[in-house]
């Protein structure tokens, strides 16, 4: 409960910080809408030539694009800004102040920066998902919806843990912000179902950079193509990775000695 209240405070601070620049909202909306338009136009081009792509029907791939924007939006909203701030604080030593605060430090560094305009991507992603769901119609039952939410949560936890592990390496390597940028450029590969990629790339996108869990698996759940064992596997992987990230974070903090003056 306390965590939720703190999260609310950080979100409110984020809104207040940006509310002074309302024109930015329009600029971000235009940018994101153009990006979404590109993605959908690409799909239209492909489905002008084929009925299914690697077994995925058009409306299922639209759902996948929706998940891509939704998850990408959440990453850009809290995860990425927070983790970038973390690597910076390790470098200049300001993490000292955070560690002395009476709340869990891992939680604080995870939500302390909010890039509020990324809400636009979250919103667009939800709209696209809604459109895809409407077109899929009654094929999506209650079980699918539940599986989708579960897969989305698991995917989110996996992506978060992955970012935290990368950012925590800053305690030893100090300069890691470029590693974070690399994740961003690989994330683009998730706009397509990973099942169409050759085995080595599929493996990399599943375990080295867990784009598959974040995007393909939830989209599979909507399409009713996710088996229960696969969902359980994703949930188990999420739990394990979260525990590993937590452990690694603690080791990192113990190693931290306040880099700057």
């Amino acid at each position: 409960m306390r965590f939720l209240r703190l999260l609310g405070v950080f979100l409110r601070v984020g809104v207040m910080g940006e509310a002074a620049y309302p024109a930015n909202f329009l600029a971000h909306l235009i940018d994101s809408a153009l990006e979404l338009g590109t993605a959908l136009a690409g799909l239209a081009l492909i489905f002008a030539h084929t009925a299914t792509l690697g077994g995925w029907r058009p409306e299922e791939l639209i759902a996948l694009v929706g998940v891509y924007f939704l998850v990408g939006g959440v990453i850009g909203l809290v995860i990425q800004p927070g983790m970038e701030q973390l690597t910076e604080s390790v470098r200049d030593g300001t993490l000292d102040f955070t560690l002395t605060k009476p709340a869990d430090a891992q939680f604080l560094v995870s939500v302390w920066r909010v890039e509020i305009w990324k809400m636009v991507d979250v919103g667009l992603g939800l709209v696209v998902l809604g459109i895809a769901l409407a077109r899929l119609g009654e094929r999506v039952g209650l079980a699918q919806a539940a599986a989708f939410v579960a897969a989305l949560v698991a995917g989110g936890v996996i992506v978060y843990s992955f970012w935290l592990i990368l950012a925590t390496t800053a305690f030893w390597l100090v300069r890691v912000e470029n590693v974070l940028v690399i994740f961003q450029s690989v994330y683009e590969a998730g706009r397509w179902p990973v099942s169409i990629y050759p085995g080595w790339l599929r493996f990399a996108l599943t375990f080295l950079v867990p784009v598959a869990f974040a995007i393909t698996v939830p989209a599979q759940a909507i399409a009713g193509r996710l088996t229960w064992p696969a969902l359980l596997g994703a949930a188990g992987f999420a739990a394990a990775l979260f525990a590993a990230a937590r452990l690694f974070w603690r080791i990192g903090v113990r190693h931290y000695s306040g880099a700057s003056s």
Binding site: D31, L34, T50, L53, N178, S185, A189
Partner: protein, 267 residues
């Protein structure tokens, strides 16, 4: 002329030194430049296989060949001046460059070439790796190989001038990301990146022939793959030459107007 040659030589040296220093930036570009063609390669070969034949005259192996060559052509011709300009104007670092006695475009061309000299070996290795994995259907012809080099040089020049002109928008507005996004979309669709042009609907193909982008990427690729008739090759060279001339003139004009408007935003 000799002064300009010295300038290029010096800029190339500094450029190489700086890119070797900032290796991470290099890795980030490489991933982007390899991943994007790879994604479309996989998508279109999947489409070709699922239709059991060819799409727009390309089979699965042809798509592999197309995108491997595209990766190399894109490596030679791509630019990042739009993103550089945005930063330059916002932070005001352009003020010093404007005082130089030579046009700042020369420093940009030299910087572009030096980064590419460093990254080229990696792209070649990546292309060889992809060729081993995806079994591309290459059929080399002497005519194509001979014409490919001048086509590539012209493609580089046209793309550089056009991108530099688009980048000048930063003089007029501090919000260039939307303009960059539209430019990126136009390049994606009309240059042959999202798909070979014969795969596009007919009206889009007509537009692509008029715009400069096809002549900076798609044309050299199709040329190298021996997909063009001699007439089409000649038309392509004519289009490249025309766009080079037009872009140079327009740039000269746009530059004069834009510099007058220049005011640095940063300190």
């Amino acid at each position: 002329m000799k002064g300009l040659a010295d300038l290029y030589l010096q800029q190339l040296k500094t450029g190489v030194a700086s890119i070797v220093q900032y290796r991470a930036t290099l890795v980030i570009w490489l991933i982007g430049n390899i991943l994007e063609p790879l994604i479309y390669l996989v998508v279109w070969s999947t489409v070709a296989r699922s239709t059991g034949g060819t799409v727009g005259g390309y089979g699965a192996g042809d798509f592999a060949a197309y995108y491997i060559v595209l990766m190399l052509v894109n490596q030679v011709t791509f630019t990042w001046v739009m993103y550089e300009f945005d930063y330059r104007i916002r932070e005001g670092t352009f003020s010093a460059d404007l005082l130089h006695p030579v046009h700042p475009i020369h420093a940009d061309i030299a910087e572009n070439l030096s980064s590419k000299a460093v990254s080229l070996p990696f792209i070649v290795v990546a292309a060889a790796g992809l060729a081993a994995i995806f079994h591309p259907a290459f059929k080399l012809s002497l005519l194509a190989a001979a014409a490919f080099v001048p086509a590539l040089v012209l493609a580089f020049l046209v793309r550089f001038l056009v991108d530099w002109m688009v980048a000048l928008a930063a003089f007029w507005t501090t919000r260039v990301t939307a303009i960059n996004q539209i430019h990126y979309m136009a390049v994606l669709f009309f240059s042959g990146q999202i798909a070979p042009l014969t795969v596009l609907p007919r009206p889009l193909q007509v537009v692509a022939n008029i715009l400069p982008f096809r002549w900076t990427i798609g044309f050299p690729v199709e040329l190298a793959l021996g997909r063009l008739t001699p007439i089409q090759v000649l038309t392509g060279f004519a289009a490249q030459a025309a766009w080079l001339l037009a872009a140079a003139l327009l740039l000269k004009l746009a530059w004069r107007v834009s510099v007058k408007r220049y005011s640095a935003v940063g300190a």
